[in-house]
């Protein structure tokens, strides 16, 4: 049957179910192979650059991995994360709840939009590294300060994404719901939120990245504890492999968390029987 593409409702990307249906082994694993090749290339270049060396402060990849293994084996890394992760988790939880709520309400209410939108824009564009040390004046150097740092780096991104997701709701779908006598509440729960769900999850992923930046900044700039302490201490005594090992561990952890969120996202959409409406 012929296809027409006119001023149409947003066409989502074909869902997971559709993409898993066809394609042989090679085709299905090709993206994975490419990813591995990309990693190999990156780490290979790193190894070469470290061996030249391009800088005394830039150790080869193999030494960093060895240092990472040593940090893990000595328990130093786990101890550091025991300090770093609780405030990060607390901050991200606050962001997930209040960020989504702020964004959704901003998208639905003109007044809240006027009240919060400028603040969110400022928080998104302000040089946070310069502002984070100021948190100390208000909240000292404890766990609270770290949580605040995580929240101010992650919440605006989450809120702004939810807000734009809601603002982009297809006007025709809203009219449709109204014509079939849907209440405002039904419009929100059955049209606006499902329509925005892709953007909300995208916002959460951005927020998680922001949160990781926030916790490391806080530990570097406010309280030299946790993983930030490993970084700054090893830098100060010029043990660069250990410093890069700590940084690498953060990157790995953040990647794992983001992947987990993506899996949860797919599960949620599959459970709702919805096709993923991410644009």
């Amino acid at each position: 049957m012929p296809h027409t593409t006119t001023a149409d409702v947003s066409i989502p990307s074909p869902g997971i179910a559709a993409s898993a249906r066809h394609g042989g082994h090679l085709r299905r694993h090709a993206p994975l192979l490419w990813k591995l090749a990309s990693f190999a290339l990156f780490f290979g270049l790193w190894e070469i650059a470290g061996r030249i060396p391009i800088s005394l402060a830039f150790p080869p990849f193999s030494k960093v991995v060895a240092a990472l293994a040593q940090l893990l084996y000595s328990g130093e890394l786990l101890k550091a994360y025991a300090e770093t992760l609780p405030p990060l988790a607390a901050g991200l939880l606050i962001t997930a709840v209040f960020g989504v709520a702020c964004g959704v309400i901003m998208g639905l209410s003109r007044i809240v939009e006027w009240a919060l939108h400028p603040a969110m824009v400022i928080m998104q564009t302000a040089p946070m590294a310069a502002i984070i040390p100021l948190i100390t004046f208000l909240y000292g150097i404890g766990v609270t300060a770290k949580i605040i740092a995580v929240v101010i780096l992650s919440l605006p991104m989450v809120a702004m994404n939810c807000y734009s997701g809601i603002r982009q709701t297809n006007a025709s779908l809203l009219e449709m719901a109204r014509s079939f006598m849907g209440t405002r509440r039904q419009q929100v729960t059955k049209i606006i939120l499902p329509h925005a769900s892709g953007m909300i999850f995208a916002g959460l992923r951005l927020g998680i990245s922001g949160g990781f930046i926030g916790i490391v900044l806080a530990e570097l700039l406010i309280t030299p504890t946790g993983i930030g302490d490993i970084i700054s201490y090893n830098r100060s005594i010029a043990r660069y492999p250990e410093m890069f090992a700590a940084i690498l561990s953060i990157i790995l952890l953040a990647t794992l968390v983001l992947t987990a969120v993506q899996i949860i996202e797919r599960r949620v959409f599959a459970a709702l029987g919805q096709q993923h409406s991410q644009k």
């Binding site: 049957m1 001023a7 025709s172 719901a177 006598m181 096709q275």
Partner: protein, 269 residues
């Protein structure tokens, strides 16, 4: 049959007792920017007939349809459906959208059942109704597909099934086939007519295609623009039970198309 009667344009004061399911009286629509989309439009839509609103773009035909649907509040005037004044959307009217307005994240089944879902009909019941109409519009087998897996024609079949599912007396169709290619459009027109022989609905159909209007309609209402006004109504009067090819070759079909074209021609430009 009569090609030229003008029973539909009734003056505002005259409240006839004829079996008109929808009565529009003195509908005026003026936008805040001063543009008058409709001026003093009065219409009677006879029960069980298919009436087309036809006119050049900008004549306010879609606006009029949305006012009848209760989606837009007119500046002045009144719409009565089954002798009750319209203050918003109601269970007696169902809308079919030009861009289909299907939820891309929901299956055909859920989309078709959505009108009933909004009314709180239990899942099993509404899905049974939806399946019936999915079958009736020729979409069976596609219940679990998503809109982006369907062609334009099939999407509009789903839109039509959704409107039929809520069992309204009146179907309001806003240029439903304009986003669909020519051949499929003809097929949909034919299927719509055979569907209406079973379903017995009153239909108000907006289009800018003269052929589509004459082919489908018991009555064609011609509107002009700046401001939108009813200029004429035409009753083509072909035999509704004839085959599509016979209708398209019928003298009365051809005459009505000519008649409407000669009328509309003078309002273009």
């Amino acid at each position: 049959m009569n090609t030229n009667s003008s029973i539909a344009a009734v003056p505002a004061v005259n409240d006839t007792t004829s079996d008109a399911i929808i009565k529009a009286r003195g509908i005026t629509m003026r936008y805040p920017n001063g543009v008058t989309a409709l001026e003093e439009v009065s219409l009677d839509i006879p029960r069980g007939e298919l009436v087309t609103l036809l006119g050049p773009s900008g004549c306010g035909k879609t606006t009029l349809l949305k006012i009848i649907a209760g989606l837009i509040e007119p500046t002045a005037g009144e719409i009565r459906v089954n002798d009750k004044t319209v203050h918003g959307p109601g269970p007696d009217r169902a809308f079919v959208f030009q861009d289909f307005a299907l939820m891309p994240w929901a299956t055909v089944l859920r989309n078709v059942a959505f009108g009933l879902e909004l009314r709180g009909v239990p899942r099993e019941k509404r899905e049974a109704v939806a399946r019936h109409y999915i079958n009736e519009v020729g979409l069976s087998g596609f219940e679990d597909k998503y809109p982006n897996e369907l062609s334009g024609g099939m999407r509009q079949r789903a839109g039509l099934a959704r409107a039929l599912s809520v069992d309204a007396d009146v179907l309001l169709m806003d240029e439903p086939f304009s986003a669909i290619d020519e051949q499929m459009r003809r097929k949909l027109q034919e299927d719509l007519l055979s569907l209406l022989r079973v379903e017995k609905k009153t239909v108000i159909f907006v289009t800018h295609s003269i052929e589509e209007a004459v082919y489908l309609s018991d009555e064609v209402v011609l509107l002009t623009r700046h401001p939108g006004k009813v200029v004429k109504t035409v009753r083509p009067g072909m035999d509704r039970n004839a085959s599509p090819d016979e209708i398209r070759r019928d003298r009365r079909y051809l005459d009505a198309v000519d008649d409407i074209w000669s009328q509309l021609k003078q309002y273009l430009r």
